[in-house]
Amino acid sequence: MGTIILLALIVLVAAIVVAAYNGLVRKRNQVENAWSQIDVQLKRRHDLIPNLVETAKGYMKHERDTFEEITKARNLAMQANGVAENAKAEGQLNEALSRFFLVVENYPDLKANENFLLLQEELTSTENKVGFARQFYNDQVLTLNNAIEQFPSNIIAGMFNFSKAEYFELETLEERDVPQVEF
């Protein structure tokens, strides 16, 4: 009788361990899957920028600084590794782009260029997609991190080296200090 109870207990514990482990693996995969959705959009954005610069250059002959800033920010963003580094680089790229679009306001001919409008629409949309995918990704990170911290899955997480995932938070212009305008 005693052995049966012991056996039953062992089976029960094993079942809990397996279930917790599988749950953690599923949640980690969901985080990775959600990240790849963001990654696709970021890559797409990096691909669009050279075309944008190329189209705009013909119209904006005296804005070399703006173009250099965008190209630099893009190159940095392309080399970024990991969630936090990516978020920082993309935030800077966002800033460079919004400054660029402010400058564009002074060039009505460029604003009437169908090619430019198309690229602008694509950039707006990839930015929106990053925004919506980010929400989904952060939800998945929250679920994974909760599981890693909560009992009893925290024991399993410790045994098999599950590490917490990072949130993807883009810095926006408003959240930062207002940039100093020099004349």
């Binding site: 959705q37 564009v104 090619n115 629409e121 929106n128």
Partner: protein
């Protein structure tokens, strides 16, 4: 979050069962009327006929209902290359809603701004918008409308409303057939009922009453269900876009254009985001498929800085004291969602330009291809254009005509020779 779907399912199953009973009862009474009061066979025969009509209609709508609805509305499918902004917005809403498949995108060539969604599953779903909608709305507003339609797909409204709509249709058709039949064959029926005496007279009165009341009853239930789903789709749209003002302002624009020139059929009317047949400014009565637009706008604008389901419920309750819209489990799981800023459209395209753009999209389906010169000029090239290059009339650059145009021209040529 997806509890709204489950509640939708239960409600729809209950509604469907009630409607099936109404349908069977109608069939039974009519069967009795024709076969005589004492005939049990007539009762079953009536039920059987009603069920057969219902099942045939259900099967048709289930296996091809989407295509029938899209074709009869005159919708044409578009790809990313033809309508980039619309296509992008649908992609955005797929990501925001977590929908498993990208809905197909259709455009309907009509000046009235409106939109609808069809499809019994996300894999078969499609969103259709009118060219008027694309011309009159800005990006945020268009996104709000698409989000509302994607909300219908996510909440499975497109499936259940089709089934329920078809069932109501069956009730209406059967009643109609019976009442017409009665009109044309009144003399012989009168003889029949006299033969059966008092019982026959009662059956006659009951069956005529049933035939008149059943469609009304079925429609009232259908419309009540439909109105609730419009609110739910609005709530979903607010959550997906995180920008309730987009949809609110779109609804305002759309409702301002309705009723000037009604081309929509009654079958399509309940599917649209704003019922095109509804009189302007009329508040939702028992027989309206949609809540009043003013009400929907006021709720969306009452949400403040939070785009969550809970906040929508709050705003709904402040306008409809004591009523509930969203189920409790969804509300418990609902987390505050900060609204976003309006998207900066640095180049505010005029309505005229948007009209031209959407006309270009439509013409691409009619044998024209769009070729864009580096200088930014759009050239409309006929599909059967023969030269390999084309000179831009604005800057004089030589542009290569894409191979797909030539291939299309070749295919056209070939089909001509085959026909000869």
């Amino acid at each position: 979050m997806w509890e709204a779907i489950r509640e939708n399912k239960t409600n729809s199953v209950i509604l469907l069962m009630v409607l099936a009973v109404v349908l069977a009862g109608l069939g039974a009474v009519i069967g009795l009327y024709f076969a005589g009061a004492s005939s049990i066979d007539g009762l079953f025969f009536g039920i059987a006929i009603a069920m057969v009509i219902w099942i045939i209609m259900l099967l048709t709508s289930f296996f091809g209902g989407e295509q029938i609805l899209l074709r009869t509305a005159g919708a044409r499918e578009v790809q990313h290359s033809e309508a980039p902004q619309l296509f992008n917005i649908v992609e955005e809403m797929q990501i925001a809603s977590g929908l498993s498949a990208l809905p197909k995108v259709y455009i309907i060539d009509t000046p009235e701004p409106n939109a609808f969604a069809v499809g019994r599953s996300p894999e078969r779903a499609a969103v259709a918008v009118t060219s008027g909608l694309m011309a009159k709305l800005n990006r945020d507003e268009l996104q709000g409308v698409v989000a509302h339609e994607v909300g219908h797909i996510v909440n499975r409204d497109t499936l259940f409303m089709t089934i329920v709509g078809v069932t109501v249709g069956a009730v209406v058709i059967i009643s109609d057939m019976f009442l017409r039949g009665l009109w044309y064959s009144s003399r012989s029926r009168r003889n029949l009922s006299r033969d059966n005496g008092k019982m026959g007279a009662i059956i006659m009165v009951v069956s005529i009453l049933a035939a008149i009341l059943a469609p009304l009853l079925a429609q009232i239930m259908y419309f009540a269900c439909s109105r609730k789903r419009e609110y739910l789709a609005d709530a979903s749209a607010a959550k997906f876009t995180r920008y309730p003002e987009g949809l609110a302002s779109a609804l305002q624009k759309i409702s301002g254009y309705q009723g000037d020139n009604v081309e929509t059929s009654r079958t399509h009317a309940p599917m649209y985001i704003v019922n095109p047949l509804a009189a302007k400014g009329k508040t939702g009565g028992l027989f309206s498929t949609h809540p009043s637009v003013e009400d929907r706008i006021r709720i969306l604008r009452g949400m403040g800085g939070d785009a969550s389901f809970a906040q929508y419920e709050e705003a709904y309750k402040s306008l409809h004291p004591g009523e509930k819209m969203i189920d409790n489990r969804t509300l418990v799981e609902s987390e505050p969602t900060e609204t976003r800023e309006a998207s900066a459209e640095s180049t505010k395209a005029s309505e005229k330009k948007k009209w031209r753009d959407v006309q270009n999209i439509l013409q691409q389906g009619e044998g024209y291809g769009m070729l864009m010169c580096m200088c930014g000029l759009n050239m409309k090239v006929p599909r059967n254009f023969e030269d390999e290059t084309i000179e831009c009339p604005k800057c004089g650059r030589e542009n290569r005509v894409p191979a797909e145009f030539l291939a299309a021209a070749a295919a056209l040529e070939q089909s001509k020779t085959i026909h000869q």
